[in-house]
Symmetry: C2
Subunit: 455 residues, 2 copies
């Protein structure tokens, strides 16, 4: 292992330069004008897989952007890991907020600044370089490896489920490794064992056939904005619990063991509060802050509109009012069931003076890696050795619906090892990636390949 780690140490600057060339390609998947860059990016990933030493490398078309695949399967009797990543990036608006151009990577303060640096080019590249180091030193790998890098993650992986079903045998594996999340904080190499699911809906209210004069009709007409406010105010009770009947039926309780483990993670509530300028934090009674954030479901109104929004006043009783709802779910909540419960409840409490329609939009399952999964110890050992620090077991408040889908279709356990940091602005201007974590990440994955091969 020492020779590999020395090799990695000797090449650390070269790795950064190589990563820069990936970051110069503006592979924005949601932008039709960027289609040529998506094609170019897939070719670069293909080349990088080949030079890392992978075999059967290929670009596989889908109905959207292509998927790039590579493998090495000569470690007989050893387990197979499937590494998942994505080569597409988020749009860069508003451009004027970037301190340096998003597709001209630049190093400042030991961080690499560019769109995609942390999400996800820098993270999947860690695996490429760890594999390359193994081949450079030993001309072999200790386990079987498959890598799949898709191009539509930032668009909701719209064609990836279909791809998984079609290529189920090719992708067959024992474990799925994903590095597309963040560490708990600097100096805390982390295993993310839980992510929340998601379910979204839109509430549409209609009162009258057009906006009404508030003088000529006010007093006789139920205002749909009032009706919507009454509905929203009944979605949670005074303790911050979600009031939808049956909502918590499938929620997995937080075990005493997990409660104690989460309690040991340092969470500076005041620092968190001031960082977002909130007058006061708010959460569900009976749970710690990290439990509220990671292990408990939430319900939020993401947007609301109706009537007059301009300058001054326009004294109408609006005909319509609308709100967008999202819920973050935890295992084992089923998004479709939860959406139906929400709709049923809203129809029950809706004032009869307005017409209400709840439009069910989409959802995705959360994911929970069982804490007694033996592979987690191996990952922990690798991260501890790679970073020289104790490992934090964390959950993530956000959602990556494709994780549960992959795990289901491939019947494999997923393990999330995020190398990003919470302040690296994934999806925002000034995205960046800490170079120490990049380097320690390559060390960790090189060690992980060996760890995963042990009994």
């Amino acid at each position: 292992m020492d020779s590999i780690l020395s090799y990695i140490e000797n090449h650390k600057d070269a790795y950064v330069e190589e990563l820069k060339s990936l970051l110069r390609i503006p592979s924005i998947s949601s932008s039709p004008e960027h289609k040529p860059y998506m094609v170019e990016m897939a070719q670069v990933v293909e080349n990088e897989m080949q030079s890392a030493g992978l075999e059967n490398v290929k670009i596989i078309p889908t109905e959207g952007h292509s998927v790039v695949y590579g493998e090495w399967r000569h470690a007989e009797g050893k387990p197979t890991i499937l590494i998942y990543g994505h080569y597409d990036v988020m749009p860069v608006d508003p451009l004027e907020l970037w301190d340096s151009p998003p597709f001209e990577p630049e190093i400042r303060n030991n961080r690499l600044w560019a769109r995609g640096a942390a999400d996800d080019k820098g993270q999947f590249y860690i695996y490429f370089k760890a594999i390359e180091a193994w081949f450079a030193q030993h001309k072999t790998l200790p386990i079987n490896v498959k890598i799949v890098i898709e191009g539509e993650e930032e668009m909701g992986s719209v064609h990836f489920e279909d791809f998984l079903s079609k290529h189920k045998e090719m992708l067959a594996c024992d474990y799925i490794m994903i590095s597309d999340t963040a560490m708990f904080a600097e100096g805390f190499p982390s295993i993310t064992y839980g992510i929340r699911g998601l379910a979204t809906a839109q509430i549409n209210l209609k009162g009258t056939n057009s906006d009404m004069h508030s003088g000529s009709f006010g007093g006789l007409v139920k205002n749909p904005i009032h009706a919507l406010a009454e509905i929203i105010s009944q979605l949670k009770d005074e303790n911050g619990h979600i009031a939808v009947p049956g909502f918590y039926d499938d929620v997995l309780d937080i075990s005493e063991k997990e409660h104690l483990a989460l309690g040991k993670l340092p969470f500076d509530e005041e620092k968190f509060r001031t960082s977002i300028d909130a007058p006061k934090l708010y959460g569900e009674n009976g749970y710690t802050r990290l439990e509220q954030l990671w292990a408990r479901p939430t319900l939020d109104i993401n947007g609301i509109w109706g009537g007059y929004q301009g300058e001054g006043s326009k004294t109408v009783i609006p005909a319509e009012a609308h709100a967008k709802v999202s819920m973050r779910l935890v295992a084992n909540q089923n998004p479709e069931n939860v959406l139906q419960l929400l709709a049923d409840y809203i129809y029950t409490i809706a004032p009869k003076e307005v017409n209400v329609h709840v439009e069910l939009m989409h959802g995705g399952f959360g994911y929970l890696t069982p804490l007694d999964e033996p592979a987690l110890i191996k990952v922990e050992n690798a991260l501890k050795a790679g970073f020289g620090k104790d490992v934090a077991y964390i959950r993530e408040g956000g959602s990556i619906p494709i994780v549960q889908t992959m795990s289901d279709i491939l019947s494999a356990t997923a393990v999330l090892i995020g190398f990003g940091l919470p302040d690296e602005n994934a999806h925002a201007p000034n995205e960046n990636f800490d170079l120490t974590n990049f380097h320690n990440g390559i060390r960790s994955i090189a060690i992980l390949l060996k760890e995963m091969a042990t009994e």
Copy 2:
């Protein structure tokens, strides 16, 4: 009187043709490009006053659009009435919804279709023609008359209060007559003895310093849309009463006599409901529909916004949420007091996890003509004779703040005699004015001039 009424009968078609020429001038006060038409319109009104037989006719400049004034003051020992009207009209958008061009008056189904036909050119013109008929037949008027026609009513009479103060002596009178409202229904000549006041505000909520990711922050942050919904849902109680403490303190109770009188007016609830496509009407418990609409104050949210309003979903916890509030007041509510009560209450109930600011906007008093005012009998007699129908005593849900202002500054009682109909689309496309009411209006006002002269 008979000779005057015959004269009016003989000239009825001519009156309509003359009114058309006023309606051809697009005197949209709020549109700077229409300024030349405003100037032209004031000159036409001046000419019309002169040919009606009024004296001292003049166009008086203000800081905005001019006011046109005329008078006849030779009925010694007799009372003086001040007739108020406005020569400006509302904008005409959306133009494509008009069945005939808004400034090309056209007669269909005994109605005159044009912007301003009912609001207010057709209505103030009734007075011009009644006066003209008196002069034509008797070369005199039975009472003293002053007429003031302003050009900014549709902009909130922004310079008219100032004008009233400056010309207080010139405008001195015993009664103010205003025809700028509607009759109860076809066949119901009406005296509008009450109009509601108005007070408007905007509620601004701020949670965090920017929109937050609902996954990475959901569970720890109070959503300002939820907070706003909680506030709005507490503005009224389950009986539809406004929950702001002190809100009703100055509200004049509905007398038994008025309750009985309003109860005699036919109000077809089902017809009203289906005309606006409301699933069910809604109002304050304990009051009849007409009382809810006319004699009780209301509170409505005119607009609400916050977060994401586009297609699909964007799972943010918005930084801000806003709502516009308007309240219709009844005599004797003071708009400034009521706005302060609203703000105080909102600050009391607002969740502490968000910052709330209530922006007080503007307000205007309601007006109530005392039902025991002796002049009302004279107006009733005139309308009954002019229309050949019983007269309805009604109130109006909307607001004309300048009425209370005029009454205060001139220390005179105002009487509102609307000749419009509720379906004549004042402020909307396809404005029109019923020609029978136009004709009977001229008859009524000719009679009224004599009635008002009696002891």
